[in-house]
């Protein structure tokens, strides 16, 4: 059985961990294997970084060192192709949805754990079933719906449909259910209403779970491609993943440098968010088994 449970505690290291070295005899061997793996896994990005500094001629001659066109490529990407505009749009989208979804998920988790109400299991099932319904699958009907709402070409079309999710609601439900019940009892004795309880008590002790959800949502929204490419026709509000497509033919023919420059720059924000929140992400998503 696989569940994603949230925990604020550090995953306890098994006793075996201390003497695991016996599995692979010599440690230097592990280090070398790890570095080789890291190099292979990192190679595409390293190559992209090298090419992003080169002119077409340098790329075509397979020059393995940094090239002379960093500035020119940067200019193509930022001045001619407006990459910063796309980046700004993606940033707005990712932050708006991340915050919105976190709030809605917190509220749903609060309702599921700290309230009894008739038909709770029905609402639970209603949300659970949406796990089987990826937005991509409904893209045809969604496209029609958004067109009918006259939301085409707007920020709302690419953000609002993603504000609620089963994953987020259940993540917080699970997390709150594992907290001691004394918390809410004490809060009720002190006369705190549910919202005060959420803001003053629950949120301050849930940063790991919030961080984990934030990483997933930020990366997920930053990497949105299919939906914005269909619904947004206006360059001024387009997201970066779709905007990169224009770099394919930056100067009438294939130019590798600007293409890779764009790819590398567009990768920085999600990777930075991921690395900054990595510890929260790992702790918030302690994978546990239960029967």
């Amino acid at each position: 059985m696989s569940t994603i449970t949230t925990s604020n505690r550090k995953t306890a290291r098994p006793a075996y961990a201390r003497r695991r070295e016996s599995l692979l005899p010599k440690r230097w061997y592990v280090h070398i294997l790890l570095w080789i793996t890291i190099f292979i896994v990192g190679f595409p990005l390293l190559y992209a970084i090298v090419v992003s500094t080169q002119s077409n001629a340098e790329t075509l001659s397979f020059q393995a060192t940094f090239g002379s066109h960093t500035r020119a490529n940067l200019e193509t990407v930022i001045v001619d192709r407006n990459l910063l505009r796309f980046m700004w749009n993606s940033t707005l989208l990712a932050i708006f949805v991340t915050i919105g979804k976190t709030i809605l998920s917190l509220l749903a988790g609060l309702a599921f754990v700290y309230f009894r109400f008739p038909g709770k299991w029905l609402v639970f099932g209603f949300i659970l079933i949406t796990l089987l319904m990826p937005t991509e699958m409904l893209i045809i009907a969604l496209f029609r719906l958004v067109s009918e709402l006259e939301w085409g070409n707007t920020f709302w079309a690419i953000s609002v449909p993603f504000l609620a999710s089963a994953t987020g609601s259940f993540l917080f439900r699970q997390h709150f259910a594992n907290l001691p019940s004394e918390l809410s009892e004490a809060a009720q004795i002190d006369g705190a209403n549910p919202l005060q309880f959420l803001i003053r008590v629950l949120i301050p002790i849930s940063w790991n779970t919030i961080g984990a959800l934030a990483v997933i949502q930020f990366v997920y929204m930053w990497n949105q491609y299919l939906w914005p490419s269909l619904i947004i026709k206006d360059e001024r509000i387009q997201v970066v993943q779709v905007g990169l497509g224009a770099l394919r033919n930056a100067e009438g023919s294939l130019t590798y440098g600007p293409m890779m420059m764009g790819a590398v720059i567009a990768t920085i924000p999600p990777v930075v968010v991921f690395i900054l929140l990595q510890r929260q992400f790992m702790r918030g998503f302690a994978i546990s088994r239960d029967k």
Partner: protein, 457 residues
């Protein structure tokens, strides 16, 4: 809903079958069988209307193609089966004296807010509204659109009954060969369970299982229309390759990164960052790397003494390019979850095995792999979702579905058909097939792994 006289025999079959089925459950619980008969008969009568009422029984009209008629019967029986399945589930709960609500009852009886039920409803309302508007409504609309001839931007629509679905089949594909294959499939399926339970003949059970799958593929090959056959083949071939290779490499690297070495945290960070890369950007980077003339991959192959490969125009190489790119992109995610999973492997078990003289490979194969099976199950589902849907960005940048449709998977085809060729009805029908495949794979996974994902308590 219109009633045609040729529906009568099918109705009789579903009503009788339903009555017998639910009655048998009541008998097992030693309750009055007559109630079971009644409930089952009603379910057998109402169930078919799930599909027949929205379609207004159009498949039973005179003058329809035989294939429409047969497809209609399948839908008819499916509707009955759905409602009977639900009736069985409810009956079992009810007869065994448990409340359905107990399924999701949480243990927090302490610390519950004693407030009017209005407050939790208000808290859940935004989530429910968004899910209703942007998931449930489009889902229902997808079903509605799939019965229509509807063009993007054109206000007029024409009702097409089930033609959008029967177009997937080869006309004349349903001959005696196909029937024989269906029969073979049913027999193989029925024979599998008793054989497995008999024990000892595990190998024979596997043989029958495999032949059932082979027959199923032959059947599909025989009755599916060629263009759609290729889409289905691409979808499944590319998805299974991504899942299998992704999990093998993910586990191998996670096992390596799990070794207790100095700086393990840094190593892990350097291994899992591709998680944050987008499918589209992975497509762009590998588009440059796979270029047959100027790409660095062919350059490396040539440096090593090999011959450059045509990653763009050769259908198999293009599929390989998509698979390699996607495996690379999902690797970080798989490594992350496998490392987390490895931390739950019971250490005492490994020590005991080591004392008993099991070597490293035996310990890995017999202790670690089984202990990781819940994570593997979780990763199969998430990787499949990736390979079915998120792969769109990679394909759009890397191959654009080419060469000659060799990398056009379902989601790519749906967008091509629906948005670029403006044929919403047929695209909606394909979305439903994809939906059924996702549900089918998930249910199959649940059943074979014998586990359930629970979210709580």
């Amino acid at each position: 809903m219109t009633f045609y006289s040729n529906m009568l025999p099918v109705f009789i079959v579903t009503v009788v079958a339903g009555a017998l089925y639910i009655a048998s459950i009541f008998q097992r619980f030693k309750r009055p069988v007559i109630y079971g008969v009644g409930i089952g008969a009603v379910a057998g009568l109402v169930g078919p209307m799930i599909f027949m009422a929205p379609l207004d029984s159009c498949t039973f009209e005179t003058g329809r193609e035989p294939i429409d008629y047969w497809f209609g019967i399948v839908l008819f029986v499916l509707g009955a089966a759905l409602l009977l399945g639900a009736a069985r589930w409810v009956a079992r709960f009810w007869l065994s004296g448990r409340a359905i609500a107990s399924l999701v009852e949480d243990q927090t009886t302490m610390g519950v807010y004693k407030a009017s039920p209005l407050i939790p409803v208000l808290l859940l309302l935004p989530t429910i509204i968004i899910l209703t508007f942007f998931l449930y409504y489009p889902l229902i609309d997808t079903f509605r659109l799939s019965t229509l001839l509807v063009k993007l931007g054109a206000p007029r629509t024409v009702f097409r009954c089930v033609t959008n679905f029967t177009d997937f089949f080869e006309p004349g594909g349903f001959d005696y060969t196909a029937l024989a294959l269906v029969l073979g499939l049913v027999i193989a399926f029925l024979a599998y369970q008793p054989l497995k339970e008999a024990g000892g003949s595990e190998l024979r059970a596997v043989f029958i299982y495999v032949s059932a799958i082979v027959i199923a593929f032959m059947l599909l090959n025989r009755i599916i229309e060629p263009d759609y056959r290729e889409v289905l083949f691409n979808t499944f071939f590319i998805a299974s390759a991504i899942v299998i290779l992704g999990l093998i490499f993910g586990l191998a690297i996670a096992y390596l990164a799990y070794q207790p070495v100095r700086g393990a945290f840094i190593y892990r960070t350097l291994l899992i960052w591709p998680y944050a890369i987008s499918p589209a950007i992975a497509g762009i980077i590998f588009f440059v790397m796979f270029d047959p003339v100027s790409g660095v991959i062919n350059h490396i192959i040539e440096l090593l003494g090999g011959e450059g490969l045509d990653w763009i125009r050769d259908p198999w190489m293009a599929r390989a390019a998509i698979i390699i790119t996607s495996v690379w992109k999902t690797l970080g995610y798989n490594i992350l979850f496998y490392i987390a999973g490895l931390q739950t492997v019971p250490g005492d078990l490994l020590e005991a095995a080591e004392i008993d003289g099991a070597n490293a490979w035996q310990r890995f194969r017999n202790i670690i792999v089984p202990a990781l099976s819940p994570i593997t199950f979780f990763l199969i589902v998430t990787n499949l979702t990736y390979a079915f849907f998120n792969i769109f960005g990679t394909i759009d940048f890397l191959t654009k579905g080419g060469p000659a449709g060799a990398t056009s998977v379902s989601i790519y085809e749906i967008v091509e058909l629906g948005i670029r060729h403006k044929d919403l009805g047929r695209a909606a029908a394909q979305s439903i097939v994809l939906f059924l495949m996702v549900i089918g794979v998930t249910v199959f996974q649940f059943r074979t792994s014998g586990r359930r994902v629970t979210y709580g308590a």
